[in-house]
């Protein structure tokens, strides 16, 4: 039986790798559920924005009238974690996106979409994350964005350490908002999801 105090964490389920996040969140003890409607958003203590196609997710957020409710919850302190497309959706400014593409009123940062290149440039590499013990995370980058600039109050948690993109910022946190360029949900390493669930609990 689930512990009654397990936080309820929604995964924005308009498009993308929703199932992988639901599985990872469940495995670290959260009550995970998909969120596609404003009413479903009301019931969550935290929200994950999955990997996917950010232009599509941005469009669907508007069409199905989720932008305002999510912005309101973020303003009220809702913990939100975004991976890849989710990072783009949490950025206040997006480079190389569509002109009509809009994220939530989220992290004070500028991200560059598809910054590492096209799919043939997608890669796996170890990334050290501040606040996560036990060695580097095995990070999977798929047509991934990177963080170009961060504003005041944004903590850089991780950067690429090797290869042509060494030094690029790929994990950040601002208060209750967390974002990574990569996809921990595609690996069996649950530390980042545990970190987020702990953030929701506190």
């Amino acid at each position: 039986m689930r512990c009654v105090t397990a936080p309820v964490i929604g995964v924005l389920a308009l498009q993308g790798d929703v199932r992988e996040h639901l599985t990872a969140l469940t495995d670290v003890g959260a009550q995970a559920r998909p969120v596609r409607r404003a009413a479903e958003l009301d019931a969550v203590d935290g929200l994950v924005i999955p990997g996917g196609e950010s232009t599509t997710i941005s469009k669907l957020v508007d069409i199905f009238e989720l932008r305002e409710p999510i912005d309101k919850r973020i303003a009220a302190g809702l913990p939100v974690y975004g991976s890849c497309a989710g990072m783009i959706m949490l950025a206040q400014e997006v480079l190389d996106g569509r002109p009509d593409q809009r994220g939530f009123d989220g992290i004070t940062m500028t991200v560059r979409r598809n910054a590492f290149g096209r799919q043939v440039d997608s890669f796996e590499a170890p990334v050290e994350i501040t606040g996560i013990d036990g060695g580097p995370l095995h990070a999977v980058f798929i047509r991934a964005p990177w963080v170009e600039r961060v504003g005041a109050g944004v903590e850089v948690l991780g950067t690429v350490t090797e290869g042509p993109a060494a030094g690029r910022v790929v994990a950040v946190r601002q208060g209750n908002l967390l974002a990574t360029s990569f996809h921990p949900e595609l690996t069996r390493d649950l530390r980042l999801h545990r970190y987020f669930v702990d953030l929701v609990r506190t």
Binding site: R36, E53, R118, I142
Partner: protein, 305 residues
């Protein structure tokens, strides 16, 4: 997801792994991939909310109508499409035509579809897809075919359906068949899995993995004959993880509106109220052809094995 092909986690950056290839398809889930033959069509698809576009020289309905040998698109056209949109661009290569695939990889396409819609280049062998950095999607009509393609390195599977018809019945058959065969594997004791592998003409390890997980180790989309929001939603309810739409959009009366409606129907595939709303006022769907009216030698789903 296969762990055996993943690199040493302590090594530096590695490209072209099974995980990044299969992972790319995971990111397309719940989305619609649309066939386009020009940069203008690609823009319409992106505006409508497509998660990717598939570049080809003629949509299947035209290939069917015009006949002749159908090949990979002109590289200029593919470049034009890549430059026109920011979403992923896929492109089709002929079955077994590994040089078309090499060219597509060099052009920077994000996924190659080794497709029965084009005229096969090799009637014995499919492409060795492990040899590429770019990932591949392949069609399948049943589980054995899907597993053989995965064995050859496919990182995503789609039902074949009968492309260019606007008749969804074959896609339905293929989706049901694949799911049914997976469910059957789940009921078999270990000793019978060896025979199942023989019957499926697929490696035992892969068959065992599917029996244990109850799903393919790669993403399963649907394709072939999808022409309406209701078609897309039905395929999603039958277990597809996303939708390819070929001729169904640009052979219809109002492509932009229909494309957007299919995107919405795919996301809310299980909500009839939303489906009713998005199905209104779309104008004329593609006229279509009944699969039964197509002579057997002209059926595309029978290409590949």
């Amino acid at each position: 997801m296969s762990e055996t092909t993943s690199p040493n986690p302590d090594a530096g950056p590695v490209v072209g792994t099974a995980r990044v290839k299969r992972g790319m398809a995971e990111m397309l889930k719940g989305g619609v991939i649309m066939d386009v033959v020009t940069p203008e069509q690609a823009k319409i698809a992106e505006d409508a909310g497509a998660v990717a576009v598939m570049a080809l020289e003629r949509v299947p309905a035209d290939i069917r109508a015009q006949g002749g040998v159908s090949r990979m698109s002109d590289p200029d056209m593919i470049d034009g499409i890549i430059n026109a949109v920011s979403i992923p661009v896929m492109a089709k290569a002929r079955i077994g035509h590994f040089v078309e695939a090499q060219i597509l990889q060099a052009l920077g396409v994000d996924y190659v579809d080794e497709s029965e819609v084009l005229t096969p280049a090799d009637y014995a062998n499919h492409i060795d897809k492990w040899a590429f950095t770019v990932p591949f999607v392949c069609g399948a009509t049943n589980l054995g075919e899907a597993l053989r393609r995965i064995t050859e390195g496919a990182a995503m599977i789609r039902s074949k359906g009968e492309a260019g018809t606007g008749d969804v019945s074959n896609a339905t058959t293929h989706m049901r068949k694949i799911r049914q065969e997976i469910r059957r594997l789940q009921t078999l004791p270990t000793d019978e899995l060896f025979v199942a592998a023989k019957e499926l003409q697929a490696p035992y390890e892969l068959v065992k993995e599917v029996a244990e997980s109850g799903k393919l180790p790669v993403v399963l989309f649907t394709a072939g004959g999808i022409a309406t929001p209701a078609d897309a939603a039905m395929m999603m309810q039958l277990g597809a993880e996303g939708v390819f739409v070929g001729s169904g959009i640009f052979k219809a009366g109002n492509p932009a509106q229909r494309a957007a409606a299919i995107v919405k129907a795919t996301t809310f595939h299980d909500d009839p109220d939303v489906l009713a709303k998005v199905s209104r006022g779309l104008g004329e769907a593609m006229v279509g052809i009944n699969v039964d009216d197509i002579p057997v030698p002209h059926r595309l789903a029978d290409r590949g094995w």
